[in-house]
Amino acid sequence: MTDERLEQLLRAALPPASAEGPSRNLWPLIADRIEAPVAWSWLDMGVALVSAIALIMFPKGLLLLVYHL
């Protein structure tokens, strides 16, 4: 099978997609997501907790952190 034949078959199987636009007004969904408060995941809280404990145990680490920022 040549590349051209394969491309032809592919276009026949999956014709180009066509549509004018979304079927409904999607702006309210976007606005809701923008206005939703930022939720902390368990992972976020875990990382924050480990970082806080590390800084309490090794306060000099803060200087290293500031240097890298």
């Binding site: 099978m1 590349d3 394969l6 491309e7 078959l9 592919l10 276009r11 026949a12 199987a13 999956l14 014709p15 180009p16 997609a17 066509s18 549509a19 004018e20 636009g21 979304p22 079927s23 409904r24 999607l26 702006w27 969904l29 976007i30 606005a31 997501r33 923008i34």
Partner: protein
């Protein structure tokens, strides 16, 4: 093309400005996304996620550049993430087969099946280049890749498709 003032207000976080920009670009971004994911409902999900990411990353947007091109890049990344997630969950996005019933339909189904086995990054370029016949430069811009890389991915996609079809016993 949104005016410079509107884009500056968007960068500053003005939601009304963003809504106005959204209204101007939703159709264009939706059509581009649909070309990649090939499913209307998925394209709508991608559109919402892409515009949300754009708002979240607005500080990185340079108002002197094209908003459409920036948005298309974000939407392409989100669409690729969707294809990747669907693949990981083993839930391949359904594509509608257009061929009539019979031998042609069987072949079309085999090709569509082979197409859906492609890794997402190859699937994206194969859809845009081979099915939608978009110019390589446009695809490269949307994927933020050099044109040479796009060409190489198209080549790899064709090779992978041929291999998958051969595995299914189709060589004609």
């Amino acid at each position: 093309m949104p005016d410079a003032d509107l884009l500056k207000r968007f960068v500053q976080g003005d939601i009304a400005a963003f809504e106005s920009i959204f209204k101007q670009f939703e159709g264009e971004v939706y059509r581009w996304t649909l070309r990649i994911v090939r499913d209307g409902s998925t394209a709508e999900d991608v559109l919402v996620e892409a515009f949300w990411r754009a708002y979240r990353g607005r500080a990185r947007f340079d108002p002197s550049r094209s908003f459409g091109a920036w948005m298309r890049r974000i939407a392409t990344n989100v669409a690729r993430d969707h294809l990747r997630a669907a693949r990981t969950r083993g839930r391949l996005i359904n594509v509608e087969i257009q061929a009539p019933a019979g031998e042609d339909r069987d072949l079309a189904e085999s090709i569509a099946l082979a197409f859906r086995t492609l890794p997402p990054k190859l699937q994206v370029v194969a859809t845009l280049a081979l099915v939608e016949q978009q110019p390589y430069a446009e695809i490269a811009d949307a994927l933020d890749l050099p044109v040479g890389t796009v060409k190489s991915r198209v080549f790899r996609a064709i090779r992978a498709l041929r291999k998958e079809l051969a595995r299914q016993g189709i060589r004609s």
